[in-house]
């Protein structure tokens, strides 16, 4: 003992208790000395027997006893420390003291302390050597230790802690509080470490047991492993599993783990009478009660009888937790301490409880597995039987399938009635077959109003409806049930492939069925097969009816159909073809036979047309047929050629029509037409003759008139001489004049005669009527007075010339009395005397106003039509019958880039039709001219540049007066762009449809597995199915949101909420969204430090940045860097239309880059470079398209710069000022 220590100690004491007087301190010291002496006498203290096992001390419990091993050579110091630790201490310490290390080591062989206080300076070996020796002696035990020393050196402190000491105390500064605090802290720390290790060990145990449960289906093995591990961990004497065998608590110990075989209770059945009020405690355990008893003898809650029972099986402390299966108490998991009482700690109770839960899982799992095995075994048996029956049925399809089926069912299931019925309409069903004790009985009708039937027909998902009570009430109109005392009724709905109910299969039995589950299974299996067979039969019946209808229709219409397999030269005729050809049905038909039936004059033509059809032309021909009775029939035959993949004709099929009657009618019509034509010709000849006669009469009249003039002259000269003759002539003349005046006066044309001085000599009443004057008025007027001003000069000229023109004809405008214009055609001829001397003019004037109006209207029509053709935005082409261009309109020139001069006269088919479709268009052209077919047609044409444009045409045939085609007019519309847009739209819809259906497929398939209970949701497959469905839903949601976003942006339904925003804020928001993704991908993002302003919709710009940066992250390699740059950009001086300044955002990555040809297309919808990216990278293929729409709506631009394998830079610009203001300023 170092006296300095004592002095220091005293000083410390004095310092600590500076309020005490000197006398008080001396008294305390004396007291201490006395105590030391007393303690020295009690040296036996160090030999106290301790339990080897060391229960864990919970420092929260004050009553816990804690053993402290103190190794200190100074007796005074030991006494001081003991007093420090025992006086006023809340803890209950048991202190074992040694003055040297060697004795302490010996004590440690059989004992374990909770904490050690070791003096560094000890005789023999120092404190650290002691620790080292102790560690070698007790390898696994580690008692926490505090080293005490006067040498307050840092190096020593470190050395102590390295050697395993938990704390280091300077004796010189030791105080009661300091020591207590150090001991408490070290104990607490040690407790926590031990607690942690124990918990880890427990967790490991639970995990191992859980793992073994998942690996094994063998309950005994699981129990044995669990109990052994549990006993090792709890260090108790016995753990066991008690399984209940009745509700009064009786049961059996089915598994155990014991420290000593003598304690074994395995296999014992416990039926102790002490289990009083068993239902109560059983119920308590069922509800989850945990029973922890430290000391059986001291526990007053136990009855004496039960205490005795426990004592008999050597129980001093016990811990019991229940094992529950589906709310029933299955058994108990029990831990016993047999050699001593025991305090069960909370973690121990928790451990037992956890293991009981694992045991519950194991029991449940093994139970389910056994049940599944049993069911599988049963199912296999049933399946064997079903397959046996089914194979028998399959072999006999075609015989009466339904009778066979129900007889088999009746036999196998040993039931009274099996019945299969078909729905005839919504209210009634008719039995297809009924079997009574394996005998087929009469069919009957069923009333579907009986409620069970509607239930059967309502449950279409292959479920069996079962009725076992009150059948007579339920089936009020069912003869068999009412009369045969039926007790059990099973029914299943038969459905077709579209899940529509078409019938039902029922079983009726007079008592309850023993194996109703088997019957249900058979109904399910054969219900679906019977449904398929019924559907097949229904379809066959429909087909037969349809065939019969077709044959009947063909017979009525005299139409037959035929097939010819060219390769094997096999010809097949429908029945009506035989009738049409007048050939017996038994006749063997070949192609040569068919040719022989054709009229000799038509045979070559038919053969040629057949050959042409096989080369790809349409087979449509009419020919004559010679019946065996030599009657000639007219046949029309239409055919279609069938080509194989290589384009070779392999077969033909088509129809044959007997058109003899039609042809006869046509011939009759032709004959009538010819008759009519003849008649018309005859009438025309008659008319011509009459016309000629009239002409002759007119000439004659004119001649007579001349003669009359002559006569008048003659009369005046020879009046006196030839009085008699004159009289006669006068009479003749009078007659003639009367005749001709009648002609002139009744003529429908005007007649006007002028003398050589242009004075009117005669005007007939018709002429006066035409002009609106009286004859007298007109006679007084000159011809020129009545002519319209526009024609006066030419007429004057004509009049001057007329003496030289004996006959002339011209159009002339008269002005009527009422001022209106009258167009006339004037035929004038000079009147001359016998010597040829000019006497005047005789004019025949015809009113042609109507013709002139019609001509004007026609001209106007032509003008308008030309104007339409010149301005219409449609292509107009006129071709002659050889296909040469006769007219093209200006729009044609615009589209085809040819001038009309370059086009007119060129052949359309060789000049404007691309080579690949010229053959087709040639046929179409012929058919248009011949049959007026193809009034609408679509085909590509070549324009001057060689480019192909797709045109849709409306064709009209031009005909001459005889109705023969002379050419065609085609009006065309250029639909190249429209067609392209439609293709793009169709492609987009197709892609969207595919993109939506892909996740839908995963979702539907997964959910159907779970919904149909095909996989257990708790199994690995079930969990994966749920995960696949959830992934699918996530993807679908992303896709739908993106599609909606892009459609809203494009349709303008999203209004940008533009404000002035700060780039730092925007970038901050975007980065917050994608930080996690960047961290997961180990990618660093360098952000700009500048803060700039722009006028934009902040949220949308954040959306663009998130899209671009997350793309950059997804395509960046690990540990790479992404640079985000923002710079201000002034307008380019060369761009006079864009004078706004803007901000340029750049997102640069070090990813795989983009090939030059994809730099534009990446911004299109669903245009990832690699389509699989959309799934691998969790994208939708719409992100960049959305970005482009947002940026362009801001008036900005977006683009990408990239070199393959060297990374990409996505750039976009956003104007800094409102665009409206800029426009306004400009």
């Amino acid at each position: 003992m170092n006296s300095n220590n004592v002095r220091d100690f005293k000083i410390d004491l004095v310092i600590e208790d500076h309020e005490k007087s000197k006398e008080q301190l001396i008294a305390e010291l004396a007291e201490l000395r006395n105590e030391i002496l007393a303690l020295e006498q009690k040296s036996l203290l160090s030999e106290t027997v301790q339990e080897r096992s060391r229960p864990l001390i919970n420092f929260s419990e004050e009553e816990g006893i804690c053993t402290i091993l103190m190794v200190e050579d100074s007796e005074i110091d030991r006494t001081c420390y003991r007093l420090f630790l025992t006086r006023n201490s809340p803890k209950n310490y048991q202190i074992v003291e040694f003055s040297n290390a060697e004795d302490a080591l010996i004590w440690c062989i059989d004992h374990v302390a909770d904490i050690m206080l070791i003096d560094y300076v000890l005789p023999g070996m120092n404190g650290l050597d002691f620790l080292s020796e102790l560690q070698q002696q007790v390898r696994h035990e580690r008692t926490p230790c505090i080293i005490m020393t006067n040498q307050a050196e840092q190096e020593l402190a470190i050395q102590s802690l390295k050697s395993g000491a938990k704390d280091f105390l300077n004796k010189g500064k030791m105080t009661p509080e300091g020591l207590n605090r150090a001991v408490t802290n070290v104990l607490q720390q040690s407790y926590w470490i031990e607690e942690q290790e124990l918990q880890r060990e427990r967790q490991n145990l639970v995990n191992m047991i859980a793992y073994s449960i998942r690996q094994s289906f063998e309950l005994d093995g699981i129990f044995e492993f669990t109990l052994n591990e549990l006993r090792r961990l709890l260090q108790c004497d016995r753990v066991l599993i008690y399984q209940f065998q009745s509700i009064n608590g009786d049961g059996k110990i089915i598994n155990e783990s014991v420290v000593d075989p003598a304690l074994s209770l395995l296999g014992q059945e416990i039926t102790d009478i002490c289990f009083e009020k068993s239902t109560e405690w059983v119920e308590l355990y069922r509800q989850g009660r945990i029973c922890s008893i430290e000391n059986i003898e001291a526990d007053s809650s136990l009855s004496a009888c039960y205490q005795q029972f426990l004592k008999n099986i050597h129980v001093q402390a016990k811990l019991v937790v229940p094992i529950v299966q589906e709310k029933h108490l299955w058994g108990l998991l029990i831990a016993h301490q047999c050699t001593a009482t025991r305090h069960w700690t909370v973690p121990e109770i928790e451990l037992l409880n956890l293991l009981s839960m694992q045991i519950e899982i194991a029991i449940q799992k093994v139970g389910l597995q056994q049940q599944a095995q049993k069911e599988r075994q049963e199912n296999r048996e049933i399946e064997k039987t079903i397959n046996y029956i089914a194979s028998g049925l399959v072999a006999k399809i075609g015989e009466d399938f339904f009778q066979l089926l129900i007889c088999y069912l009746s036999q196998i299931l040993e039931v009274d009635y099996v019945c299969i019925a078909e729905l005839t309409n919504a209210q009634t069903a008719e039995t297809l077959a009924v079997c009574h004790h394996q005998q087929i009985i009469d069919n009957f009708e069923i009333n579907l109003k009986n409620q069970p039937y509607s239930k059967i027909l309502g449950s279409k998902n292959n479920t069996v409806q079962i009725y076992q009570n009150n059948l007579q009430d339920l089936f009020f109109e069912h003869k068999i049930i009412q009369s045969s005392n039926i007790h059990t009724f099973l029914g299943i709905c038969l459905v077709d492939s579209s899940q529509k109910a078409i019938g039902f299969l029922t079983i009726l039995h007079s008592s309850s069925l023993e194996n109703i589950a088997l019957a249900e299974k058979f109904l399910k299996v054969f219900g679906s097969r019977a449904g398929a067979e019924l559907e097949r039969q229904q379809i066959e019946a429909k087909l037969r009816k349809s065939e019969a209808d077709l044959l009947e229709a063909q017979r009525i219409a005299h139409v037959g159909h035929w097939k010819w397999n060219k390769n094997i030269n096999e010809l097949w005729w429908s029945e009506e073809v035989y009738h049409i050809f007048g050939v017996a049905l038994k006749q063997k038909i070949t192609f040569d036979f068919f040719i022989q039936q054709i009229h000799p004059l038509d045979r070559d033509r038919v053969l040629q047309e057949t050959e042409a059809a096989l080369r790809g032309h349409t087979f449509r021909t009419v020919y004559r047929l010679q019946w065996p009775n030599n009657e000639t029939r007219f046949i029309k035959i239409l055919g279609k050629v069938i080509f194989d993949k290589q384009g070779n004709a392999v077969a033909m099929r088509g129809v044959v029509l007997d058109i003899t009657e039609l042809k006869k009618a046509e011939l009759e019509l032709q004959r009538v037409n010819l008759g009519l034509e003849e008649e018309v010709k005859a009438r025309m000849n008659e008319l011509t003759t009459v016309h000629q006669k009239l002409q002759n009469e007119l000439c004659e009249r004119k001649q007579i008139e001349a003669e009359k003039e002559e006569s008048e002259i003659f009369y005046s000269n020879h009046l006196e001489k030839e009085l008699n003759e004159k009289q006669q002539i006068a009479e003749k003349l009078k007659e003639s004049e009367i005749r001709y005046r009648r002609i002139v006066e009744t003529s429908s044309e005007g007649i006007w005669q002028l003398d050589k001085n242009k004075k009117t000599v005669f005007v007939n009443p018709r002429m006066a009527e035409m002009l609106g004057y009286s004859v007298e008025e007109i006679t007084k007027l000159s011809l020129l007075d009545l002519i319209d001003e526009t024609d006066k000069e030419p007429v004057k000229y004509l009049i001057e010339q007329r003496e030289n023109n004996l006959i002339s004809q011209y159009d002339l405008q008269f002005r009527r009395k009422n001022g209106t214009i009258m167009w006339t055609m004037v035929s004038a001829r000079s009147v001359v005397d016998e010597e040829g001397k000019y006497l005047g003019r005789l004019k025949m004037i015809t009113d042609i106003s109507d013709r002139k109006r019609a001509e004007a209207a026609l001209q106007e029509f032509n003008r308008r039509w030309r104007s339409v053709l010149d301005t219409i935005q449609m292509i107009v082409v006129e071709l002659d019958k050889y296909g040469n261009v006769e007219y093209v309109n200006p729009f044609f020139e615009k589209v085809f880039q040819f001038s009309s001069e370059e086009v007119l006269g060129k052949n359309w088919l060789t000049t404007f039709v691309p080579a690949h479709s010229s053959e087709e268009i040639e046929i179409v052209f012929e058919e248009i001219l011949k049959n007026e077919a193809h009034s609408h047609y679509e085909n590509p044409i070549l324009i001057k540049s060689g480019e192909e444009r797709l045109i849709t045409w409306r064709n009209s045939v031009l005909k001459d007066n005889s109705g023969q085609p002379t050419g065609l007019v085609a009006i065309g519309e250029d639909i190249t762009e429209r067609n392209h847009l439609e293709q793009m739209k169709s492609e987009f819809v197709s892609i969207v449809s595919h993109e939506l259906k892909t996740p839908l497929t995963a979702i539907q398939a997964s959910l159907s597995l779970l919904h149909e209970k095909i996989v257990d949701p708790n199994s690995e497959e079930g969990e994966e199915s749920i995960s696949i469905a959830v992934d699918g839903v996530d993807r679908l949601v992303r896709l739908v949101n993106d599609i909606l976003d892009i459609e809203r942006l494009r349709s303008g339904k999203i209004n940008l909420k533009k404000i002035y925003c700060d780039t730092q804020e925007i970038i901050k928001k975007a980065i917050a969204e994608i930080r996690q993704l960047a961290e997961r991908s180990n990618v660093t993002i360098n952000l700009p430090s500048c803060s700039l302003q722009m006028y934009a919709d902040c949220d949308r710009i954040v959306q663009v940045l998130i899209n671009l940066i997350s793309n950059a992250i997804k395509f960046s390699p690990m540990h790479s860097t992404i640079d985000l740059l923002v710079e201000s950009r002034m307008p380019e001086s060369t761009d006079k239309f864009n004078t706004s300044s803007s901000l340029l955002f750049k997102v640069c990555d070090q990813g795989r880059g983009i090939a030059a040809q994809h730099l534009e297309t990446v911004f299109e919808r669903f245009k990832q470079i690699d389509a699989s990216d959309s799934r691998d990278k969790e994208g939708t293929g719409l992100g960049l398209a959305i970005c482009r729409d947002i940026v362009e709506q801001h008036g900005g631009k977006i683009w990408v710069e990239s070199v393959l394998t060297q990374g990409s830079t996505f750039c976009f610009s956003i104007p800094t000022e409102p665009l409206e203001d800029l426009i306004h300023d400009q």
Binding site: S993, K997, Q1004, A1005, L1009, I1014, E1021, S1025
Partner: protein, 125 residues
Amino acid sequence: MINKRVLIVDDDLGIRRIVQISLKAIANWDVLSAGSGSEGIAIAETESIDAILLDVMMPDMDGIETFAKIKENPNIQSVPIILLTAKTKVSEQKQFNNIAIAGVIMKPFKAPALVDQIRSILNWN
């Protein structure tokens, strides 16, 4: 009886897995899976396969091209092929009429219906 072995070729992992789970759980068929046409051909050449379920719309090599390559390959050309497609338009389906596939199954599908359709197309009773 030896289990049927079916190869699913689809670029979508979710569909591949759920088809695998479904065919195994419902029909106890072994299912191999390939994420692309070329991978599918490689598997078909090395493994014994009873049928191939082939997605039509795949990147790189689509189902129709994959089908043509399989039919050109004498080692595997006899394996029946069922196309899986989301195409519903008549015009889109016309292209299937001219090729010698065993059948077409429309997406989306329920798991039991998928098995039923495969059985029906291939007469696997």
